[in-house]
Amino acid sequence: MKKLNRRDFIKIAGTTAAVSTLGIPSIGSAASKKVVIVGGGTGGATCAKYIRMADDSVEVTLIEPNKHYYTCYLSNEVLGGARKIDSIKFGYDGLKKHGVKVVHDMVTGIDAGARTVTTKGGDSFKYDRCVVAPGISFRDNIAGYDDAAMQKMPHAWKAGDQTMLLRKQLEAMADGGTVVIAAPPNPFRCPPGPYERACQIANYLKNNKPKSKVMIVDAKEAFSKQKLFMQAFDRYYKDNLEWVSSFDTDGGITDVTGGVVKTGEGTTLKADVFNIIPAQQAGAIALTAGLADDSGWCPVVHKTFESTIHKGIHVIGDAAIQKPLPKSGYAANSEAKVTAAAIVELVNGREPGTPSWVNTCYSIVAPDDGISVAMVYNFVDGKVAKVAGSGGLTSLESTPDDRAREVQYAYSWFDNIVHDAFGA
């Protein structure tokens, strides 16, 4: 019964849309402008809003299973206790005010030939352009890390319940305990993320459980902003934070079967809290829809982020192959705007313009110490390229005053980017 009503409603809504299109003679019959966006995270939400801001004659439907989005960015502060989970929780009312149709459902199929998106709830949506922004899914590089293991050794690499689970484990841990963070191999979402997390947890332990320790067991031999992080480890967490290179363990943590945690060389690790961050690939729906190549990520034309595999589908955010742009929230926001502008041109029968991107990732390494990496990107020979001479890292010699400012500017970045993506 319920379902029938819903279908009826869609039918009615569909007819009204058709009538109103007919009412505008200049558009003509060919100019149907329906965009369906799969995933209402940072990339999807920004894209929906910017399409509507640029051209409100485009009908935008955003499909996202969750009623609320928890940002991964600044979730490390929730783990460290500096911030409450509600401060990283956002709804979809702002997008609705921009005229975006928000549907809470899970996309289960995308048919590039028929140009339809189907959902778990049994609905089907036609599109002229589809945007796929499902973020990441996990690979099985760590033996035994299944759904049950995730409840015992959270990844907290998708924010929300997982973040709270890890936070509660840290709170429950007795003083003198050890926390192990398994950092993933490249490429993965938010390259500086595991190291910022280690700082946040070490800061919490230093103030609340001073006999406890954090150990990062890395699947890599080097990592993002390494010198700046090493400086922070040395400055603030000399006694309670240790980074272990993949070189020393033969590949980091590779097996958690039965709750026994082993490194590549077979050593068993004992700890009170395990934060296991597996290797990553594009979100599951991108794989199901055949949008990924052998790397597990989705190849796209950088000018428009249209898939090189399926025409009419654009893949943005973490799921796409966007190198040299990183897999970050800022980059997802920037890619979303390039794609929104391109889609507005394409559905209006015009040629998309030349793109431009920016990325910045702030990391808060201590309450008054923030560091950042930034870069401006342009479009050269059909690809994203770094603009020579731009960007780079916070200086190792920057003053305490500037480091404290970077924390304030990181909070400003957070407030502005979530407002830019989800705000009215």
Binding site: A341, W357, A374, V376, V380, T394, D415, H419
Partner: protein, 194 residues
């Protein structure tokens, strides 16, 4: 005179054509929208520290960006960002943001009313000449201070007074007369403008 002008225009379009044959420049909105992640949608920052950049004069915006690029103006991050753009691209963004409306952040901040009052008097005496209409007039080409985020103004003033950023000589003379508390009062006065 008219002949000279059209000659210049011809030259201009020739140059434009020359560069677009290689690759068209990104549009003003394409460039400007990349800044919104830090400065807010349409350049209106929701705070708590990074500045609103909408509504300031194009002249001012260009000068400030050039200052970041050359290092004359101290920055935590804008020096790294500004170096990513050509003068032409900066001009495009400056015109774009200059045409967007400024929105005061006063109502989202808290102030000390005694400081605002003291600041008002100091303002009239020392700053009003170049920051007219309580610092809200874009045409002054000296930014918009009225209704800006207070932390940003405070940071900027620290940089001016320590010599890390260059002030105009005349402003320097006025600023040097004021002590820390007086500076704080003037800045609260500016930021509290609705």
């Amino acid at each position: 005179m008219p002949a000279k002008k059209s000659h210049a225009m011809l030259l201009g379009s020739f140059l434009l054509f020359g560069s677009s044959a290689l690759m068209a420049a990104p549009s003003a909105s394409m460039l400007a929208n990349t800044c919104a992640g830090c400065h807010g949608t349409n350049g209106i920052s929701v705070g708590p520290a990074s500045p609103t950049i909408a509504g300031k004069s194009a002249e001012y915006l260009k000068e400030v960006m050039e200052g970041y690029k050359s290092g004359d103006r101290h920055a935590t991050i804008m020096n790294r960002i500004a170096k990513g753009y050509t003068d032409e691209e900066i001009a495009l963004m400056a015109d774009y943001y200059a045409a967007l409306p400024f929105e005061s952040a006063a109502e989202k901040q808290t102030f000390d009313s005694a400081k605002i009052e003291a600041g008002s008097k100091l303002y009239k005496k020392n700053c009003s000449k170049c920051h007219d209409e309580n610092g809200t007039l874009a045409e002054d080409d000296s930014g918009i201070l009225g209704g800006q985020w207070l932390p940003y103004l405070q940071f900027t003033m620290v940089d001016y007074r320590s010599g890390r950023s260059e002030m105009t000589k005349k402003m320097k003379k006025k600023v040097e007369k004021l002590n820390d508390e007086e500076i704080e009062s003037v800045l609260q006065f500016f930021a509290s403008q609705k």
